[in-house]
């Protein structure tokens, strides 16, 4: 019952926080996008090969591009108030449907990337901290710095060359073996195989971040009195590390996960390009290029939703990990 009330409070706070933020994002980006040279009609006319003035005018009218910007914004907002993200001029279908198609694959990719980043990062960081100052620490520190310093697309291309072209172990791109008609376990395995390389490329940068954060946090925690208490109890090092150090060290490490989700979505633009992954990042990039602004706004909106949700989850996770935290 207490838990329920806590949850409710979190949700209410999230909503109160989210609404102005999201409104801000919409308005800011809407106005920003209207500064862009060219509009959807230009792009479509160009892509279709040719056009006449009449069709251009007709396109603009149909997409609602022929009225003043402020009016367009109001129209968009009133659409939004009715939970509609509008239509994509380019695809001729509702934005929500378009995003809905891409969302699952992006969520999976991001989820796996985050899982890799956390798992590997925390392991790496703990290993570094436990060997602080000695050669494994120095070596891993350099490795994580390199992860941190190498452009993501470079890693992506190199992984493809190595693992799919040279070794032939993993597919070079896409999210599934198209038309293979796999079902059940084989299907899941196939999806996983397709996900490993892009998720890794996306994750490595964050592996480095979490590794470094964890290292600092573990060192900090390891010097705490209660760790000494645990040692004085006669606990073996592994138990001390897992039960007393890592769990406490997780607290500062997880704080940034929400913000990183936004970063990962941005990074997804590059990785999805390299791996031909049909995700939101690529959709967003193309919608910028094609001036398909309803789609772009939809993606931005959704991603801020995701970030807000992630932040809420992190808060809840904190409350669970750290009993001292009262949910604000």
């Amino acid at each position: 019952m207490l838990e329920g009330r806590r949850l409710l409070r979190v949700l209410r706070r999230t909503v109160i926080q989210a609404v102005p933020t999201i409104l801000g994002i919409v308005i800011l980006n809407f106005l920003l996008l209207k500064l862009a040279p060219g509009d959807a009609a230009d792009v479509m006319a160009g892509e279709f090969g040719a056009a006449t003035e009449e069709t251009m005018a007709m396109l603009r009218q149909r997409f609602g591009l022929d009225v003043p910007v402020l009016q367009q914004l109001l129209a968009y907002l009133s659409n939004l108030a009715q939970f509609s993200l509008g239509q994509s001029p380019r695809y001729g279908m509702p934005v929500s449907e378009l995003i809905g198609q891409r969302l699952p694959s992006t969520l999976m990719l991001m989820g796996m990337a985050l899982a890799i980043a956390f798992g590997l990062g925390i392991a790496l960081g703990t290993a570094m901290a436990l060997t602080a100052g000695r050669w494994p620490d120095r070596l891993l520190s350099v490795v994580s710095l390199i992860f941190y310093s190498v452009p993501g697309f470079w890693i992506g291309l190199m992984l493809i060359v190595l693992f799919s072209v040279k070794l032939g172990w993993l597919p070079s791109g896409g999210q599934e073996t198209i038309g293979a008609g796999l079902t059940g376990f084989d299907y899941i395995l196939d999806r996983l195989k397709h996900m490993i390389l892009p998720a890794t490329s996306l994750a490595l940068f964050y592996v480095a971040i979490y590794g470094r954060l964890t290292r600092a946090a573990v060192l900090e925690v390891a010097s705490q009195d209660y760790v000494r208490t645990a040692a004085a109890k006669g606990l073996p090092p592994l138990a001390i590390t897992l039960r007393h150090i890592v769990r406490n060290a997780l607290l500062p490490v997880t704080t940034l996960a929400g913000i990183h989700l936004g970063g990962i979505l941005g990074g997804a633009v590059v990785v999805e390009t390299v791996y031909s992954w049909p995700g939101l990042g690529r959709l967003a990039f193309e919608s910028v290029m094609r001036r398909d602004f309803n789609v772009l706004l939809g993606v931005l909106l959704l991603s801020s939703f995701l970030v807000i949700i992630a932040n809420t989850l992190v808060d809840l996770l904190h409350a669970w990990l750290d009993p001292r935290v009262e949910v604000r």
Binding site: Q224, D225, Y226, R228, T229, A230, A231, A232, K233, G234, L235, P236, A239, R243, H244, R247, N248, L321, D322, P323, R324
Partner: protein
């Protein structure tokens, strides 16, 4: 005379940056309470950690022998040593606020040691934890057992620490400044509790403190440390009545005395001039820079702890000379 429970001899702890404990020796008998007294920085806490073998990695314990129940702890392999920690020798720390893991319940933290050393099931360990909390006089132990540390007061937390420490019935409990962080009113309660447990469980107690005021009531014997060396060792009452080492005398004059009724005895508090830091790099007696009676010979080499009379040792050649002169005079 049987061998003491714990015998620390010639203990020296070195760090790359210095030698905070040198040539220290003292012994603790079964069931005895020994207070180790000194200012902060005197090396008393490091000594306690050295006994537990929990010194930081950079520390080197050299030329010392720490014999516990006849075995040299310094020579034990680490897994063996782990079986000593928490089971044979337990330790409680100064800061009950930070010495408990904030993300685990009290009960889990007590149960951890029981499950480790006594192989209890989690259920049995929980039951025992409640009993232990009861033993250390925590009210409503069956409720508190599920509380997280931050929900408890400082005194309660220290009681929980004590419950954890005595869980496996250790032969020796090292209490490192157990009351420093607590309200004055709680201090006596906690010390009484320790004393009672010592008697009931038949364990020895090493009470590390900077506060000579608590020594008289709760300690059998006192070791006074200064700058990592033993300065004086004596029965508690003797020492308080008749401190010999100039440092002990200064310390005693500077400390508020806590009598049985928890009242401060009024008396002027006097500072010892200088600070312990001035001992650094001193080739001779570390107390020389602050000593009112230092002789030129004091500066040449550190004075050894010498027995004046049975059970009474002192590391101060001038005092020793005076005392011996007095004794000779009395004897004559």
């Amino acid at each position: 005379m049987t061998a003491p429970l714990l015998d620390v001899s010639n203990l020296t702890i070195r760090f790359p940056t210095g030698t905070p404990v040198a040539d220290l020796g003292f012994a603790v008998g079964e069931g005895e309470t020994v207070a180790v007294v000194g200012e902060s920085g005197s090396g008393k806490s490091l000594t306690a950690l050295a006994i537990m073998r929990l010194l930081p990695r950079t520390a080197r314990t050299t030329s010392g022998g720490i014999r516990f129940q006849g075995r040299d702890l310094l020579a034990l392999p680490e897994p063996e040593m782990r079986r000593v920690r928490g089971r044979k020798i337990a330790m409680i720390f100064q800061e009950p606020m930070t010495s408990l893991n904030p993300v685990l319940t009290i009960g889990k933290q007590i149960a951890e040691v029981l499950r480790l050393h006594e192989g209890l099931s989690s259920e049995a360990a929980r039951k025992r934890s409640i009993q232990l909390l009861d033993l250390v006089r925590v009210a409503d132990p069956h409720l508190r057992v599920d509380d997280f540390p931050h929900r408890l007061s400082g005194g309660m937390r220290q009681r929980a620490m004590i419950a954890m420490a005595v869980a496996c019935g250790p032969k020796l409990l090292i209490a490192d400044e157990p009351t420093t962080a607590l309200d004055v009113t709680i201090q006596a309660q906690v010390l009484d509790l320790l004393d009672r447990l010592r008697r009931e469980l038949g364990m020895a107690l090493v009470l590390i403190t900077h506060d000579l005021g608590i020594v008289g009531q709760w300690a059998d014997r006192v070791v006074v440390m200064y700058a990592g060396r033993g300065a004086e060792e004596a029965d508690a009452t003797r020492l308080l009545d008749d401190p010999l080492h100039p440092y002990t005398r200064g310390l005693l004059a500077a400390s508020p005395r806590l009598d049985a009724r928890l009242h401060y005895t009024a008396g002027p508090l006097r500072e010892i001039p200088g600070s312990i830091a001035s001992a650094l790099g001193e080739p001779g007696c570390p107390f020389v820079p602050r000593c009112p009676m230092a002789l030129p010979t004091c500066r040449t080499k550190p004075p050894p702890l010498e027995e004046i009379r049975p059970g009474r040792l002192i590391a101060c050649p001038p005092t020793l000379a005076l005392e011996r002169a007095d004794a000779a005079a009395v004897g004559r």
